[in-house]
Amino acid sequence: MSTELNELQPAAHTPVRATRPFYWSVRRELWDNPSIYIAPLIAGGVVLLGCLLTAYRLPELRRAALLLESTRQRAAIEMPYDMAALMIMFTAFIVAVFYSLDALHGERRDRSILFWKSMPVSDRITVLSKAIVPLVIVPLLTFIIVQGTQLIMLLISSAALAPSGLAGTTWALLPIFRLSVILFYGLIASALWAAPLYGWLLLVGGYARRATFLWAVLPWLALCAIEKIVMGTAYVAHIVGQRVTGNFEEAFVVVQYPKGAHVPMVDRLTQLDPLKFLSSPGLWIGLVVAAAFIVAAILQRRYRGPL
């Protein structure tokens, strides 16, 4: 009977190896959520397709642009690159929002939380590995994808303009390095600014049993409605709206939109205003709130099991 089993040879004990639970937890998030890079790549692809299809008009447009005075000239040449960056950034933002909402919900829905919890990985590492995705990984990937897209756009435009001898004008008039710095700064600023939004979504995803989106949105709508009814004001709506739509005024010195530019123009390093941004109470209050949401999400995960 079963006693015979005790006579089996004891297995040699495996030596304890060094592990990198945080690194592998982040890797796991990327395996599980390829949309984090696929969606911005698709947005970049769409932009490039648009460039290719309109490339034949470029020489004509460029000749017209060169007749403008210098600010509007720059605006006209930069605009497609800014639009490309904004499209990819917007896509990445949407992806980050839905990622955050599902990060602590999906593992409960598919019961895999029982597998994750059978591993020697703490709730702190797990939640932080998920929080770092919208806060660091997505902005970093966005930066790379935007740069790649813009580089290919530059090549397309050069090729389209080469026959008419105008290719040099892009290289001369487009502040390539400055645009990279501005993009990098803008991505960091918007990730920090939106941190409480991501923290809230992580917390709600870990809390709600279903309808996570409603749980994320309805409390704020209710707060807005109560405030409007009771006090007749709209501070909550303003605060929430500001977090969702971005931090442009906080982080940049906004100049007058030149005629012909559809997006606010930022192309000078002097327009970056990190001091104003870093000294804005909104940023720091937001970061404290984000930290509180993330800590709550960590504490909460301990109690969470499969749905």
Binding site: E7, L8, T14, T19, W31, E107, R111, P120, R302, G305
Partner: protein
């Protein structure tokens, strides 16, 4: 040091008492079967041991408080909750990479060699594997971890009989070495009867029976009574009786085996039969308990 030690372990969900002050001690090197009807508190007990739920009372697993130190405890404890918890989006190679990356006691070469005996491809996603293959994969991952305690909660639920047999065979031949401890819950009790060293019945959040398999065999006996001796056998106070092929099968507790052998064919009862005797309705079996008998006994040898 006991592997698991609990005193007055309690857990309530609202007004439902899932664990009603359980005292438990599981020594190292045992294979304990935790048997009970649905809703008896088995999974709650295991969840408490694994640090998945808060609890009342005292509980130490390998000397640690599971609720406070789950992540540290999981270096020495493995569990398979059921076959459906491996993330379906993961590839087999990713599962190996991940466990190797986070678990200090994982031996990747060992896991690879277990997998080499199966038809599981490294490049497959877990969603593409059959239920049996997922169980094989999970077992391969777990067996490659040099843990002190392995907890299995219905590990073979929904698997066909070949996979179930292979599961327990691998567990005994390739994993259990006499120093590890295994706690298993299952409804397929006949399949684990020869595997266990200890047995525990649990019902309504309380321990109904706790004994080693040696004690079980010494204490309980089942007799297929010769019709001529039926009255004589009934007089000895069987704890349960059932009919099979027109013969009465009586289950006795602490009755001298030689005395019983004279009454008919004597044998060690199945865990399922004892389970029915202790948990089921008293004789004659009501329709409810006879259904249980049929399903539990249906796969009996």
């Amino acid at each position: 040091m006991a592997c698991i030690e609990a005193r007055g372990l309690r857990k309530t969900y609202g007004t439902t008492i899932a664990l009603d002050g359980i005292d438990l001690r599981v020594e190292e090197g045992r294979i304990l079967g935790l048997i009970g009807p649905n809703g008896a508190g088995k999974t709650t007990a295991l969840d408490a041991v694994l640090g998945l739920i808060p609890y009342g009372g005292e509980l130490k697993v390998l000397g640690r408080d599971p609720w406070a130190e789950r992540d540290r405890l999981m270096q020495d404890v493995c569990f398979i909750a059921d076959v459906a918890v491996l993330p379906r989006w993961m590839r087999v190679s990713q599962a190996l990479d991940y466990v190797a990356g986070v678990h200090p006691r994982f031996d990747r070469a060992k896991a690879e060699s277990f997998l080499a005996r199966t038809e599981i491809k490294r490049t497959s996603k877990i969603r593409q594997l059959s239920k049996g293959m997922v169980a094989q994969l999970h077992l391969a991952l777990v067996m490659a971890i040099d843990a002190k305690l392995l907890v299995l909660d219905e590990p073979t639920l929904g698997l066909d009989i070949l996979y179930r047999k292979a599961f327990y065979d691998s567990l005994l031949n390739d994993y259990f070495d006499g120093s590890r401890t295994i706690v298993v819950t299952t409804h397929q009790v006949e399949e684990v009867q020869h595997v266990l060293t200890d047995l525990m019945f649990i019902n309504h959040g309380r321990i109904v029976l706790e004994c080693s398999m040696e004690e079980f065999e010494a204490r309980y006996a089942e007799v297929m009574v010769h019709p001529d001796h039926l009255a004589e056998a009934q007089a000895l106070g069987p704890i349960h009786s059932r009919q099979m092929f027109g013969r009465s099968i009586l289950l006795f507790d602490k009755v001298d085996h030689e005395q019983l052998a004279a009454l008919g064919e004597l044998r060690t009862p199945g865990i399922a039969d004892l389970f029915v005797a202790l948990m089921g309705a008293p004789e004659p079996p009501s329709s409810g308990s006879s259904r249980t008998t049929a399903s539990e006994g249906g796969v009996a040898k």
